[in-house]
Amino acid sequence: MAEPVDLEDQLRRYADAVEAHRRSDGGGSIMDDPVRLGPTPPGRPQREPFVVTGPDERRWPVRRLLTAVAAVVLAVAVVGAVLAAVRRAGFSIDAGEERPTTTVDGSGSGRSDGVASEPPDVSEAADRCREAFRAMDESLFDPNEPDSAVAPVAVPDGIEVAVSQLILGGTARRVVFEFGGELRSCVVSGSGDVPMGSMVVNQDDGFPVEPDTIQPRGSGGEAKDWVIEGKAGSDVTGVRARFADGTTFEGLVVGGWFVVDMSWPGGGPANLEPLNDVVFTWTLADGTERSSRSEFLTPAGLGGGAPCAADPACIPAKVAEVQTEAARRQAAGEPFDQGPAVADGVVTEEEFDAAMAAFANCSVAHGLSGYVAPAPLFRDWAIFSLEPNTDPGAVFGYNVLLWPGPGQPAVTPPPPAVTTPTGGNPFLIEECRTTHVDLVSALAAVQDEKRRFDENVALTTATTGG
């Protein structure tokens, strides 16, 4: 007879080993052949139950019942709203004609280019969405923590959106609709039969996602489809995204969340890198506007350079470079515990950009590359998040800096940068709490970028419209 299994010991040793390997190889090789759950046993739900993170379990049966009732109401509302919208627009739902959409963009996803599109199967889409929302509702929404409820957003008075079909390059439909007084969204594939990814319940392809998420929407073909979504702050009432080719997309902002769906029907300019140099213009509740920019950075920092992923020796070289600089500054008695100096009073645009550039350069010097996406996440603060690209072998991690936004009171020293390495990133970029770069050159680089970008926009707007 086999010896009894010491389960507790095996669990602990297994956890020890997984953690140790994660540190040593970044979690990569150990997942080459992951253990997968076998065929679903009879009687077991096909999908693993979602974690209940909030209320006591005993409340969930009631919640599920309410959800089921709400789903039925939703189905009726969805169908009714679509029929009403079609009637208002004077289109026949079964004629195969182009149908108006309630998209919010200026030139892309809500295009009216005269190309007939297949009427989406709303009932099927809604069906998929219901399933996703049930899961989302159970997994994400914590009524005890309203701030953590990333899923629902309140529908303000005056918005009658029940269903909004956004055609994403013909390959996907984003469905935004009211549900229980909340506005929700999900995406289904163009055929309606396969949700894209795991839809709303999967952060890879879901709404909502964490602030400043910028993700390409896999579409195949020539079309370029993207969605930018995240939390915009409670004082933001509108957003538009303008790209270097002059194309502008209007976003939807509700309850502090925003989503901008974008599609270049023809694929856009060949050299267009839509996630680069996008300017967000945020309309605030007081009617003023504030812009922020997303930039693609390489490990060489502003101005380009070969990504470290292409050169295995690059990252250690960059790290050594920073360490050498750090040692030099320490020897010289130069402080490291201060961010870019800010004048008394309020933070200026230039100081803001200098902080961003300094932080970005420090981060990219450690091998990170990705996007710096300032956004009015907080009323008085901007957040810079620097993420790596997803190239295999690239260092994976996040580096986040909180910084007072332009026009906000300067606080010296600034809040600490936050480094949250993930995916086995061996670096703890504590140094990036401070800055190692020459602020003068960083500022000059930012100004050069601005000039280049403005000139580019000026040139392209006339030809592409906006």
């Binding site: 040793r13 080993a17 759950l37 379990e57 964490e210 086995g424």
Partner: protein
């Protein structure tokens, strides 16, 4: 905005170290990173609250779960892949076959060494419920790994396993 005190910073750094291991069972090796990142990001956004928490790791554990979305199925490496040839090969699939609550409870208690109270707070359930989850999870694991009778009858009784780890 107040700046995080050094004490709070140290606390968050310590929490980050413990959270990854805690998330592995419910989010998998891949998803654990994301959950840790979200939890720590929240902590830095709310340093005052973190400083006041009696059980910051448990609270942040919940935050990370709430702010991330579960994958359809967490991915865990095979024991051989992490150089544990003497660990039961069926342990991981048996673990994955548990309900998520059971898997989280048994993992946090026995793989992470958390107390029942800490697990209860982290999962938002009662201590007795944690005991029930752990008991049933262990029974299910034993039944899966030793279907010939390795599990004692006591293990099948809800709440039968009430001992907490002390070495962890």
């Amino acid at each position: 905005m107040p700046i995080a005190s050094r004490t709070t910073e140290e606390l968050i750094v310590e929490a980050r170290r413990r959270l990854w291991r805690a998330y592995v069972a419910v989010r998998g090796v891949d998803g654990a990173d994301e959950a840790v990142a979200e939890a720590i990001a929240w902590a830095w956004e709310h340093p005052e609250r973190v400083a006041e928490l009696a059980n910051p790791v448990g609270y942040l554990y919940r935050v990370g779960l709430t702010r991330t979305t579960p994958r359809k199925q967490p991915r865990l490496p095979a024991p051989e892949a992490v150089e544990l040839p003497d660990v039961e090969p069926g342990l991981v699939p048996a673990l994955l076959a548990l309900s998520e609550q059971q898997r989280a409870a048994v993992w946090l208690v026995h793989a992470c060494g958390w107390s029942y109270g800490d697990v209860a707070e982290a999962l938002g359930i009662g201590r007795s419920t944690v005991g029930t989850h752990v008991s049933r999870a262990l029974a299910a694991l034993r039944a899966e790994l030793d279907p010939g009778g390795g599990a004692s009858s006591d293990d099948n009784e809800p709440g039968a396993v009430q001992t907490e780890r002390t070495d962890g």
